[in-house]
Amino acid sequence: SAVISQKPSRDICQRGTSLTIQCQVDSQVTMMFWYRQQPGQSLTLIATANQGSEATYESGFVIDKFPISRPNLTFSTLTVSNMSPEDSSIYLCSVDRERDGYTFGSGTRLTVV
C-alpha cells in the first residue's frame, strides 16, 4: 500500500498561532485528502487537494482557517491558522490508489493550549 509520511507527528501550540502539517507520499497521486478526527470521534473530511488547482473544501471548513498547498503530485501541506483549543484534534492525510484503496498517514496529534 501507499507509504504516507506526516510531519509533525504531534505538537502542542499556543492559541492564536498557526501550524503547518506536511504530507509526503511515496508515489504520484492525483488527489490528496485532509481529514480531522476530534477526540473519540470519527473522521471528517476537511478538503480535497488536487495538484495545480485550488483545494475543494467541505461544508464548515474555509480556506482562511485551513489553507492547503499542493505543489506537486507527492506532497501537500495543511495549515491550521489562528488556532483555538477547539482545533485540538488529529489531522490525517489520505490518498487513493486503485490497487491499494484509500490509505492514511499516521496523523498529526495537535493540542492547542
Binding site: S1, T30, S42, L43, T44, D96, G105
Partner: protein
C-alpha cells in the same frame, strides 16, 4: 444528515467468538465500501473493501457481507482475538467518479475482545 450509520456503538466479544458490525448507507451512488481498523495513536488501516457487484468478500478472518437492496453491509471477524480490540469504521465513496471520490465515514465502534 448522516450518510453512513454504524451499529452497534460498542461491542464486547469473548475470545474465539464472532464479532459482527453493521453499516447502513443512504446514497445509492456509493460504489465502494471499505472497513477500517484504528488503534490508539495510529491512523486508520484498511482491512477489507467491497464493491456493490459482489455480495461477499473474505480475507483471512475478515468477511464483508453486502446487501445492495437493503443498502447495508457488515463486517464479520471470525475467531476474534484480544489483538482485534480497536475502533472500527465503515465508510463509503463514489470512487468511480474520480473528482467526487471522497470517503464518508460512519461514527465508528469500539470492539473489545475479552481473553
Amino acid at each position: 444528515q448522516q450518510q453512513v450509520k454504524q451499529s452497534p456503538q460498542s461491542l464486547i466479544v469473548q475470545k474465539g467468538g464472532i464479532s459482527i458490525i453493521n453499516c447502513a448507507y443512504e446514497n445509492t451512488a456509493f460504489d465502494y465500501f471499505p472497513w477500517y481498523q484504528q488503534f490508539p495513536g495510529k491512523g486508520p488501516a484498511l482491512l477489507i473493501a467491497i464493491r456493490p457487484d459482489v455480495s461477499e468478500k473474505k480475507e483471512g478472518r475478515f468477511t464483508i457481507s453486502f446487501n445492495k437492496s437493503a443498502k447495508q453491509f457488515s463486517l464479520h471477524i471470525m475467531d476474534s482475538q484480544p489483538g482485534d480490540s480497536a475502533t472500527y469504521f465503515c465508510a463509503a465513496s463514489m470512487r468511480s467518479t474520480g473528482a467526487n471520490s471522497k470517503l464518508t465515514f460512519g461514527k465508528g465502534i469500539t470492539l473489545s475482545v475479552r481473553p
